[in-house]
């Protein structure tokens, strides 16, 4: 059924072509009478197309592509430059940081030394003052003791005079007494 309808279609086509065609019954693509017109119009249209492509369209697209390539490579170079700049500033920052750290260390050490020196001098001063007052105190003590010892001698002779006077009831002179005391304490 398919085949019969298809066959009918083609035979009708052939008939139709014969009625309708410019040159009766020829399969249109092989109809030589149309060749000259087709060739001439192909030459005109394709010729125009070729020149338009060669002169206008292709240089234009080519330029666009080239511009883009240039721009991209330029941008890459710029990016590289910026990266180097960044690296350099990072290095500079790190160096500055380590310098600052070093400086801080030095300042700390200095402050420490100064503080220690101040403390030492203070202590020395205090110690000197202490030693001075100690000495003063010692001399005072010595004086007092000497005075006390002198008093003791006086008291001893007085007491001895009184005791002797009581015991022997006689009168002894102070000189004899002193002689006797110095003899006794010798």
């Amino acid at each position: 059924m398919f085949i019969s309808t298809a066959y009918a279609a083609t035979t009708e086509a052939a008939k139709h072509g014969a009625e309708h065609g410019e040159k009766s019954g020829v399969f249109p693509p092989f109809d030589p009478s149309t060749f000259s017109s087709q060739l001439v119009w192909l030459a005109i249209t394709f010729g125009f197309f070729y020149f338009f492509m060669a002169r206008v369209a292709l240089p234009r697209i080519g330029n666009i592509l080239e511009d883009r390539r240039d721009r991209i490579s330029q941008d890459l170079v710029e990016a590289q430059r910026l990266k180097e700049e960044t690296d350099a500033s990072i290095a500079a920052y790190e160096q500055e940081l380590s310098e600052a750290r070093h400086k801080a260390h030095v300042i700390g050490g200095e402050a420490n030394d100064k503080a220690r020196a101040v403390t030492d001098s203070e202590r020395e001063k205090v110690e000197a003052e202490l030693a001075e007052s100690l000495e003063e105190a010692e001399t005072r003590i010595g004086n007092i003791r000497d005075a006390a010892m002198a008093e003791v001698e006086v008291i001893a002779s007085d007491t001895a005079e009184a005791i002797v006077n009581q015991l022997i009831g006689g009168k002894t002179t102070r000189a004899e007494l002193a002689k006797a005391i110095s003899l006794a304490s010798r």
Binding site: A9, A14, G17, P29, Q38, F49, Y50, A54, R60, I61
Partner: protein, 250 residues
């Protein structure tokens, strides 16, 4: 006659013109050639008008076409071949757009006429001959003498090479023409089945779904063929140009 699968190839005169007995009429074929050229030119010009660093969609289409053809030519003919880039690009775009125009119902397919494809193939063939002999003189004949072939069978090989070289414009043109012609006829025949079967009652209407599915599939296939034949034609052109530039092989 809706069912006539040949009718679509009929050339009709729109403006009859006769110069000294030579028919130069402006026909439907001429009209579609003009449409092909104008549409392509206008699109390429319009889409690249912005000259965008970041391309718009249409600009990227033009750039893709450019780089596609440029890559094809550079790969097969080397950087020397880029001299022929405008020619190869024009061929590719002309054939592609003409084939695609042919996919519209009621539109005429310029490339379904053998004289057009023969003319294009001969243009390529003559370019190859002129460039080949112009560049290498008789050295171009080295093309027919492959290296590394034993002397004994050399005459045979040379004969085969010469015949295949002469057959080039024929195969080059007939491939494109026959593909476009056969594809369009097949499409029309299957589409015709839908109409004739659906006149045969309910069974016919249901049965006509088969050729309908076939027509849908064939349409997709024809779009592929329309692109592929333009690609193949251009690819072969690139290879022939390579022969003209480097007849002794790379």
């Amino acid at each position: 006659m809706a069912n006539d699968p040949i009718h679509q190839f009929q050339i009709t005169k729109l403006l009859p013109l006769d110069v000294n007995g030579v028919d130069l009429s402006f026909t439907n074929s001429s009209m579609f050639m003009v449409a092909t050229v104008v549409l392509t030119s206008v699109f390429l010009l319009w889409s690249t008008g912005g000259r965008g660093l970041v391309p718009s969609r249409s600009q990227s289409l033009s750039e893709i076409a450019y780089e596609f053809v440029a890559g094809m030519l550079r790969d097969s003919a080397g950087s020397q071949g880029m001299k022929f880039f405008p020619f190869v690009f024009s061929l590719f775009m002309f054939i592609l757009v003409a084939n695609m125009f042919g996919m519209f119902p009621y539109f005429f397919t310029v490339t379904s006429h053998v004289i057009i494809t023969v003319a294009l193939a001969l243009a390529v063939f003559l370019t190859v001959l002129i460039v080949g002999f112009g560049k290498h003189g008789f050295g171009f004949l080295k093309l027919f003498v492959p290296s590394g072939v034993p002397i004994a069978i050399m005459p045979l090989v040379v004969a085969i090479e010469v015949i295949s070289f002469i057959a080039r414009p024929i195969s080059h043109s007939v491939r494109l023409f026959a593909n476009m012609l056969a594809g369009h006829i097949t499409l029309k025949v299957f589409a015709g089945f839908i109409v004739s079967m659906s006149t045969m009652g309910a069974v016919g209407v249901v049965g006509s779904l088969l050729p309908f599915a076939m027509t849908v599939g064939l349409t997709a296939l024809e779009f592929l063929v329309a692109f592929l034949q333009a690609y193949v034609f251009t690819m072969l052109t690139c290879m022939y140009i390579n022969d003209a530039l480097h007849p002794g092989g790379h």
